[in-house]
Symmetry: C2
């Protein structure tokens, strides 16, 4: 199909598609004449993934890295998870004290070297943010956070398909990034349901 | 203290403090002369909360609403949770189909009216995002997400202090918003640990 049809099929404006082509996020179409190229189903699928990543707040440069990982199914799952996390982990102060974070994640079976420093630093940074706001997470609640995330991670990692490298890569890269809004949304629903259980229904208004 | 001292103590530049004063995020200081005002510990604490909310991606307008809730301890916890969620829940398409989201949250004990529509729509929007990217969450993994969020929410709601309305408000508003980065960071660590358990350590490099 032509670029105008690709735009209509994918719902992504032609100008945006051209931008993705220039940025090498989308592979070039097959040239049917010196000034025209033809696009196929692979472009439609790839556009959906690009939109999903960008709408999740992933930058163009990071999207390019994740797509490269999607295109290289030779990567090990553990390495891929690291790459996906690196793309979405905000950069943090280098001289962050990791001690408190290490103590929190020790409950996960974490030990030195068990995860990327940047990911551990993400926990440290989040703890600093809470501390600065003067907010202390009660010990039982922190324990519930850690246990819940361990259950989630184990279910996710157990679910990594091993029959096809491509499927594994797709699952890991998209699953680690795109699921974040779902988890936060589910938590909000769960909090409102649990609050109604404890305090009764909300006032009408 | 003067505004310059408040800036030094809080680490927030004086120009930013003046902006927060103009935006009514921060209460005015006590006037000591027609051109000078004096600030106290209450301003330092409030500045920390403002910074924490804004660094979590909450807008100025939403921060103002959350601070108003913090200042009105007469609110019921269930109402406050709704306000905090409303401030951080991204606006979603109005004509979103909520059916799939309702099915997912039914496992939480959710029933019609048990949470704000906007919060339920957040789940629906997240599901649409995954679907568009062609990513299907396996049923066992989805069940793990829902169960984990239910455990988290119950621990959080059980931890709401009831001895002081002010403490309750603080816990609810800050806890529901500021804890999000911590949860996502913990999930990343847990995923890397679980991945190493299943697939062995990452490649060095």
């Amino acid at each position: 199909m032509r670029i105008s049809e690709l735009a209509a099929t994918s719902g992504v404006p032609a100008a945006t598609i051209k931008y993705y082509l220039r940025e090498n996020l989308l592979p070039a179409g097959e040239h049917t004449s010196p000034t025209q190229a033809s696009y196929g189903e692979v472009h439609v699928r790839r556009l959906r993934v690009i939109r999903a990543l960008i709408e999740s707040g992933v930058s163009i440069a990071e999207t390019r890295k994740l797509l490269a990982a999607l295109d290289d199914p030779s990567e090990k799952p553990s390495d891929l998870i690291g790459q996906a996390h690196a793309a979405v982990t905000p950069r943090v102060d280098e001289d962050l004290d990791l001690g408190a974070a290490e103590q929190v994640v020790a409950r996960l079976g974490w030990q030195p070297g068990a995860c990327d420093d940047a990911v551990l630093a993400g926990v440290a940074q989040a703890l600093v943010g809470l501390d600065r706001a003067g907010f202390e997470v009660p010990a039982e609640v922190m324990a519930a956070y850690v246990d819940a995330m361990q259950r989630i991670a184990r279910a996710e990692i157990a679910g990594i398909p091993t029959d096809s490298a491509e499927a594994a890569v797709r699952y890991v890269v998209l699953g680690s990034v795109l699921v974040e809004p779902l988890l936060l949304a589910l938590r909000r629903v769960a909090e409102q349901v649990a609050s109604t259980e404890r305090f009764g229904p909300k006032s009408v208004g």
